[in-house]
């Protein structure tokens, strides 16, 4: 029997019923699946949480030892400004102190804005922030640069990495017995701070 010859009037009711049945089935399956999938996902999360807390509970002695071992160094880093908000005053104090210790002929500095560091280290839970400092040092002798850097390190004002230094001879002239700079050093160092990501998120909200 051809489609055009089918009595569609007679078939309308069963076709409508078929459409309704299909819609009902799809709806039932869709919502029940969504609910089942959501509960499955929640179960997976709860299992992960259980696994975590179970592991944590099993390692409670180890955790205690970790706290005892690392609390001191951590607090020292915190005091030194390596952990938490950056301590620019500490850095400037350290510069001044190093300058005085080495008796250079003056240090000019310039600090950039703090930004996320691109240094790749395993610091889970902490963000590594970086502030670039450019310093210009007037020196009598090239060894003064070594002395200055050692003196700066001795201040323990925070974590930093020296990135570059350019030593250049000052413009020559007639021989002079005056106490004047013979060398110029232009260095760039990165002050690094570990910022607790959780605390930053809380303060950011």
């Amino acid at each position: 029997m051809k489609l055009s010859k089918l009595p569609w009037g007679i078939l309308r009711a069963p076709l409508l019923l078929l459409a309704a049945a299909a819609a009902l089935s799809v709806t039932l399956v869709y919502f029940s699946y969504q609910w089942s999938a959501a509960s499955g996902a929640q179960l997976a999360r709860e299992r992960a949480a259980l696994s975590g807390i179970r592991q944590k509970s099993a390692q409670v002695d180890q955790e205690k030892q970790l706290i005892e071992r690392y609390r001191g160094p951590y607090e020292a880093l915190q005091r030194g400004g390596a952990i938490g908000a950056e301590q620019r005053v500490n850095w400037l104090d350290a510069l001044r102190a190093a300058n005085q210790a080495v008796q250079t002929l003056g240090v000019d500095y310039q600090l950039s804005q703090q930004a996320a560091s691109n240094l790749k280290l395993d610091t889970a839970g902490f963000k590594l922030q970086q502030t670039t400092m450019k310093i210009n040092i007037k020196l009598l002798h090239e060894e003064d640069l070594q002395h200055f850097l050692r003196a700066l390190d001795a201040q323990q004002a925070g974590l930093y990495l020296l990135q570059s230094c350019v030593l250049s001879r000052s413009a020559g002239g007639a021989f002079s017995v005056r106490f004047e700079p013979k060398l110029g050093a232009e260095c760039e160092l990165a002050w690094l701070s570990l910022v607790d990501a959780a605390q930053e998120n809380v303060s950011g909200q």
Binding site: W35, A124, L128, R150, L159, S164, L167
Partner: protein, 516 residues
């Protein structure tokens, strides 16, 4: 099971029944006339949209067995239509019934077809008028022997040939089956009351008619003479016990008089399910085993096609809902199982958390978690470990200068980082080695204008630097004189180079080896 309206027609009588839940119901018989037609119309009105199965037991029938090549699809359809046209050109009720393939080995195994026809539709007309008027779905029109094939199959005759004999309303019906498939049938009047020899023995009459049929089978070569034939007689009244003795006593001929109980057993039914007359038995067989082939043309069974389509749509709807319910039930079951497990897992988590918190009360006070303490301190340690000053680079250069007093250093540039440049310029990776590198600018003093000597000294100076163990690479970036053939070079040999400081300037790039 769906209700069916079953109709059995003979020239003299009409019987109607419903087929419900595997049994006959409302069985009624009439003389084939106005009363029967009215009753049929009323039955159709009482049961609208119920398929109608019409069965005829009449002498106006024709059977032809043909062996045709085994083909499929459109070729088979065309071949059968052609053959039907040849055999029954003007007959409206005709059909082709595939009855198996030739069994002989070595042959092509052609198809065996039975061509059937009802030569006159007069008997049907009043009923078809009612059916068309009420748009009742006509399932099919069948000849009684077609329906008998189901019985012959169930009786499982031991011999290849079986002659099923029954006393019907239309007369004595004899249908021949070869290997359980209908080949030919014959209806002869059987009215002893109207017969001048009415007192004649029933069994003798049966025997005479059976013998005529047997001879016809042999003569028409439908059955080889040496083949065994079993005559199966429906003896529901148990009055044919003498029949086997009246048949020729030949080895190739056997006779079974089948009682009502034997037929019930063969059909797997109880005696209460089946009617105790062969007419109604065929109605039952028509309801339970409707033949696959109908004599009705497609335009007569159009409403039945629609009826089946509707039933199919309803069944599909029901199946869809059932599937949806089952599937969603499975989903819900999984969901509830998950919920139950979530509760259990949460309870476990709470228990472990309580244990942990109880133990953690004895921990030393810490600003952050133990893991964070460790990570922060380790990271700070790594940064400190990475830290370098230009001291070793300057020492390397100083060692080189010790052996070359005429080389005067003007400028020194030092960088430290991962990869080729400083950490501020490029993303440092954890795997890339951190290296010190730099550039020195120097000149040969005193310089007398002897570039060859100056170049030699610069080369030797670079080689001396290169020879140091902590140096990875030394390259000359600039020479006092440009030796590049593509560059333009200008100067004067009269120049007083002593008055031109910087005339022998050069640049070296130095890379120190990475420290492990």
């Amino acid at each position: 099971m769906a209700t069916k309206i079953l109709v059995s027609l003979t020239a003299r009588s009409a019987r109607f029944a419903l087929f419900e839940r595997g049994a006959l119901a409302q069985l009624a018989g009439y003389d084939n006339g106005e009363a029967a037609w009215s009753a049929f119309g009323a039955l159709l009105q009482q049961h609208p949209n119920t398929p109608v199965y019409l069965m005829l037991d009449t002498v106006e029938e024709e059977y032809r067995t043909e062996v045709l090549p085994h083909v499929r699809g459109g070729a088979r359809r065309d071949m059968l239509q052609r053959k039907l046209g040849q055999l029954f050109r003007t007959v409206p009720y005709r059909a082709t019934w595939l009855q198996g393939r030739e069994q002989s080995s070595g042959k092509r195994r052609d198809d065996i077809y039975l061509f059937l026809a009802l030569m006159s539709g007069e008997l049907l007309r009043p009923y078809l008028d009612h059916i068309q008027r009420q748009r009742a779905p006509l399932a099919g029109i069948y000849l009684l022997p077609q329906v008998s094939q189901a019985l012959a199959t169930q009786l499982k005759c031991a011999t290849p040939g079986a002659l099923l004999v029954s006393n019907q309303q239309g007369g004595l019906r004899q249908s021949f089956f070869l290997h359980g498939r209908l080949r030919i049938s014959r209806l002869t009047p059987f009215d002893l009351q109207g017969d001048p020899q009415g007192d004649r023995d029933v069994a003798q009459h049966y025997a005479e008619e059976i013998e005529k049929s047997r001879l016809f089978l042999y003569n028409s070569r439908l059955l080889p003479r040496e083949a065994r034939l079993t005559v199966q007689v429906l003896d529901f009244d148990n009055n044919l016990a003498a029949l086997p003795a009246q048949l020729p006593q030949e080895a190739s001929l056997g006779c079974q008089c089948l009682s009502f109980e034997q037929v019930c057993a063969a059909l797997g039914s109880t005696t209460t399910q089946l009617p105790r007359d062969s007419e109604a038995l065929h109605l039952y067989l028509l309801g339970k085993y409707p033949p696959p082939v109908s004599l009705a043309a497609a335009q007569l069974t159009g409403d039945f096609t629609v009826h089946r389509l509707r039933l199919g749509l309803y069944a599909t709807s029901a199946a869809l809902v059932a599937l949806g319910v089952l599937w969603s039930g499975y989903n819900l079951m999984r969901g509830y199982a998950n919920q139950a497990e979530i509760k259990s897992v949460m309870a476990d988590s709470a228990r472990y958390r309580a244990q942990y918190e109880a133990a953690a009360r004895h921990f030393p006070a810490a600003p952050v978690s133990a893991e964070k303490l460790r990570r922060a301190v380790d990271a700070a340690g790594q940064i400190k470990q990475l830290g370098r000053t230009p001291e070793s680079f300057m020492q390397t250069v100083a060692h080189g200068l010790d052996a070359f007093p005429q080389v005067q250093l003007n400028r020194m540039e030092w960088h430290y980082g991962a990869g080729p440049s400083a950490i501020g310029a490029q993303a440092a990776t954890a795997n890339a080695p951190w290296q010190q590198r730099g550039e020195i600018e120097a000149e040969i003093r005193p310089f007398t204008g002897d570039y060859r000597s100056a170049l030699t000294q610069i080369e030797r100076f670079a080689a001396a630097l290169r020879a140091q163990t902590n140096v990875a690479e030394v390259t000359i970036a600039k020479l006092p004189v440009d030796l590049d053939p593509s560059a333009t070079l200008r100067g004067s040999t009269q120049d007083n180079v002593e008055t031109k400081p910087g005339a022998a300037q050069f640049k070296l790039n130095i890379v120190l080896k990475a420290e492990s």
